[in-house]
């Protein structure tokens, strides 16, 4: 998957908010949440919490972490690492780039890659 998806312009996602790209669009079989973190950068994780069914895109973003809206598991937006219970499994990361104020998502390409 090298073709990025244009999620929107940087003004479409307020800082501390997220936008979910549905599975039909991502091509990975999973919806992906694209976050505008409080460090000003954009990050993407699989939208579904690794603990139970819940949308991380509906979660609470603080700094560079997101807190699941159902049971408050926290994930690092940069690495996907599960930072506290009840999650023990990392969320999958996806690469995000900002080009000409457009937020580009590379589904299936890890953030570090």
């Amino acid at each position: 998957m090298s073709e990025p998806i244009t999620v929107g312009s940087i003004d479409d996602i307020e800082e501390g908010e997220a936008q979910v790209v549905e599975a039909e669009q991502t091509g990975t079989g999973e919806a992906i949440a694209v976050f505008h973190a409080e460090d000003g950068n954009f990050y993407a994780l699989d939208d579904n919490c690794t603990h139970e069914t819940a949308s991380l895109g509906d979660g609470w973003v603080e700094g560079t972490e997101v807190e699941c809206p159902v049971h408050s598991a926290k994930f690092c937006l940069l690495s996907g690492e599960a930072l506290c219970m009840p999650a023990t499994i990392a969320a999958r990361t996806h690469k995000v780039e900002v080009v000409d104020d457009q937020v580009l998502l590379y589904p299936g390409m890890g953030a570090a890659g």
Binding site: D58, W60, M85
Partner: protein, 406 residues
């Protein structure tokens, strides 16, 4: 020097979190969890998804079996019968002995039985362990008459689950509505009324006696009502498991007494989760906490203390509960001195906020409003002042108020 060998007695959420957080914080020594139930599992699903059969044994494990190998955490399936704090020795029911530099008691609690005639009948069920859930599930068929005594969080959750399995459920509680201290009277009322709307009969009364004749039970209430049931379940809280600590000579008072670093009265021994109770520096005792988050938080704290790194700061206490498809959450205290401000959605209370006279938020309870409770937690923890007018106005998102750094 930090401990080199740690034994954790009890593999519930508190014990598991302690093990996980020790490894996260770089603990490289020997680490053992001892629990007769084997691999640690999560209890909240026992009254919901596990009872319904949508989650199996594997799905409720706190971590898959491979995690224990990957993290070099041994799980010893045994009951600890003796603890000698001075030498750091624990003895199991098979006679095996282990020693450690630090011992963490995470023994949890046992479901409280009803202290009335018949309350001790073997056929009167409780729900605390996976095995309890298996037994309860095995007795339920469509049309089974179930009486649940205690309409708190677990009682209400089980009522909702069993109703969806086709049982005829009667829920008995002395209070109408229950849970007022936890969520405030308005949300408590709304939640309790959901039972009748979903076909569960809610009865107000004090259970005085349980009789069993063959497989049929009769619960007699103090006001003379009587309720017949095939299955009786009691959900009225827990009794902390302190027997081992008492035999070891540790100080106990409705919980193993600990300081804010989870240290018991012996320097080598710690206690966390449901079995522990915090004694403040001035000698006063805190109320013992029985919520999931407290188990996790104290597990994190003890890992930091043992590993001699800075302990995390925990915020206002938080809990959740699920019934009839709605998600209930509470944070802080809804019974603290102050007034309650309500936000309604379609005429139903969705957010209740407890505010002090000085304009500080003390507590928040919500139905299906994740953002508000997470915002409220931050507003409480950061002591962000606000006016009742702001809180009352549904056009002012709590999230926005929380983002004003205090």
């Amino acid at each position: 020097m930090p401990a080199q060998r740690v034994i954790i007695i009890g593999g519930g959420l508190a014990g598991f979190t302690a093990a996980r957080e020790l490894r996260t914080r770089g603990f490289a020594g020997e680490l053992t969890i001892i629990d007769p139930q084997g691999l640690p599992y999560d209890r909240p699903p026992l009254s919901k998804q596990y009872l319904l059969g949508t989650y199996d044994q594997e799905k409720i494990l706190l971590a898959p079996e491979s995690w224990y190998q990957d993290n070099a955490v041994e799980v010893l399936v045994a009951e600890v019968t003796d603890l000698d704090p001075e030498s750091g020795t624990v003895t199991t029911d098979s006679g095996e002995q282990r020693t450690a530099d630090a011992i963490v008691l995470a023994t949890g609690g046992a479901a409280r039985r009803l202290p009335v005639p018949g309350g001790d009948l073997d056929s009167v069920l409780t729900l605390r362990t996976r095995e309890d859930a298996d037994i309860l599930r095995s007795r339920i068929e469509a049309g089974t008459r179930v009486a649940i005594i205690g309409a708190g969080l677990i009682g209400a959750e089980v009522a909702s689950s069993l109703k969806s399995l086709g049982a005829e459920v009667t829920l008995i509680d002395p209070l109408d509505p229950p849970l007022e201290p936890a969520v405030g009277p308005e949300i408590a009322r709304h939640l309790h009324d959901m039972h009748a709307k979903h076909g569960v009969r809610a009865v107000t009364g004090v259970s005085a006696q349980i009789e069993a004749e063959g497989s049929v039970h009769r619960i007699r209430l103090q006001d003379g009502q009587s309720i017949e049931a095939d299955v009786v379940l009691v959900g009225i809280g827990i009794i902390p498991e302190t027997g081992l600590a008492e035999r070891a000579g540790l100080l106990v008072d409705n919980g193993i007494l600990v300081d804010h670093a989870q240290r018991t009265s012996h320097r080598r021994v710690f206690a966390i989760g449901d079995c522990s109770r915090t004694r403040n520096e001035d000698g006063t005792y805190q109320r013992r906490a029985e919520h999931w988050e407290h188990a996790m938080n104290t597990g994190m704290t003890v890992a930091s203390v043992i590993q001699e790194v800075e302990a995390p700061q925990h915020g206002a206490p938080w809990f959740w509960s699920d019934r009839y498809g709605v998600h209930v959450e509470g944070v802080g205290s809804m019974s603290a001195e102050g007034k309650t401000v309500l936000r309604q959605v379609e005429g139903k209370p969705s957010v209740a906020l407890r505010v002090s006279e000085e304009g500080l938020l003390l507590g928040c309870a919500v139905i299906d409003d994740s953002y508000s409770v997470r915002a409220a937690r931050r507003i409480i923890d950061r002591r962000i002042p606000m006016t009742v007018e702001q809180l009352e106005d549904p056009e002012v998102p709590l999230k926005k108020l929380a983002r004003q750094r205090g």
